[in-house]
């Protein structure tokens, strides 16, 4: 159990570094989902099931959803702007 916990902590440290070095935002969302899943597993192994349930729902549903909604809205606005600039 301790070996599993230490391995998971090492994997989390590596994932954190990979996420900050990813430059494309859409790729970062996928990496962030994976990072959230690792955290849910970590909370479960360290005997915190309530927090693990919170992290699963939030890290897999809510957080990537919020970031993707923001990116979708920005892309939509960019498309509208480019269409308006093409008209006159």
């Amino acid at each position: 159990m301790m070996i599993l916990g230490s391995g998971l902590l090492a994997l989390i440290a590596v994932s954190a570094f990979v996420i900050v070095r990813t430059d494309d935002v859409t790729n970062q969302i996928i990496a962030l989902s994976f990072y959230g899943l690792l955290f849910a597993l970590l909370f479960f192994i360290f005997q915190a099931p309530d927090v693990s349930l919170s992290q699963i729902t939030v890290g897999a549903i809510a957080l990537p959803l919020m970031v993707m909604l923001a990116i979708t809205r920005m892309k939509h606005r960019a498309e509208l702007n480019s269409r308006q600039e093409k008209k006159p």
Partner: protein
């Protein structure tokens, strides 16, 4: 400031922080050796004092209920901030009044397979039921208002995936959602005032405690959990709707 200089300044600060931090944690007890008294005291007493088997939820909504009230208000003000920031400004209202039709589509969507549509629409009801189960059984097993609320709020996204935009827009733009969000936040404070009315300090557990292991047990913990669940679900649905407002309006124009 150029990027190299910014990075050098950061490295300088980071090395200093790391040095001070490592000196500081050398004197902590080793990992796995928990010495503090409070955790043991609460773990031994919570089941008998509050008739709740989930100690973490008993702490969240009862022993440290005032902190959770503050966190819920953070959530409420963040949702209000999003609604204020993303409200339609003058340009958007002008664009919506002109009702221009857009011949080119936003994304060249391939036709969605019927399997996906049927499956996601069927999972919608199941998700709502599961969210209610988690939200109401917080005092017995891991769960509670926060988790249940997020699950319920994530369920309408299944309708968006199934491309049922009309149902999605009708659910999310319903005026009851704003009402429930405000009611959920207010009800938590009102439960605290009920305790004041009986003569006990604010947010004391004054309702009958019931039998341990029942769903209707542990007094105000279940009630507060339900209020928080309602508020979190409505808050997330409101935030989703604010972000998708103009995309949904455009889909409605295309379908006309």
């Amino acid at each position: 400031m150029s990027e190299r200089r910014r990075l050098l300044l950061f490295l300088f600060g980071a090395v200093g922080l790391a040095a001070i931090y490592c000196t500081g944690i050398r004197n902590l007890p080793p990992f796995g050796d928990y010495r503090g008294p409070y955790g043991d005291v609460i773990a031994q007493l919570a089941v008998y004092q509050r008739h709740a088997t989930d100690t973490v939820n008993a702490i969240t909504y009862d022993y440290r209920g005032f902190d959770t009230l503050g966190e819920e208000f953070i959530l409420f003000s963040a949702v209000t901030g999003v609604a204020l920031l993303l409200r339609p400004d003058k340009e958007e209202r002008k664009r919506r009044n002109q009702q221009q039709s857009n011949p080119a589509s936003f994304q060249d969507r391939a036709a969605l397979s019927e399997t996906v549509q049927v499956l996601t629409t069927a999972l919608f009801g199941f998700s709502i039921l599961f969210g209610f189960y988690i939200g109401t059984h917080g005092q017995l097993t891991p769960g509670g208002g926060f988790q249940g609320g997020v699950i319920i709020a994530g369920a309408p996204m299944l309708l968006y995936v199934a491309e049922n935009f009309e149902a999605f827009r009708r659910i999310l733009s319903h005026p009851l959602i704003e009402l429930f969000e405000a009611l959920g936040a207010a009800a938590y404070a009102l439960v605290g005032f009920v305790a004041l009315a009986v003569g006990a300090p604010f947010l004391t557990n004054v309702l009958p405690l019931g039998k341990t292991g029942d769903v209707f047990s542990s007094g105000t913990i279940a009630l507060i959990s339900a209020c928080v669940g309602v508020e979190v679900a409505a808050g997330f649905m409101l935030v989703t709707f604010e972000y998708l407002r103009e995309i949904l309006a455009r889909e409605k124009n295309e379908e006309d």
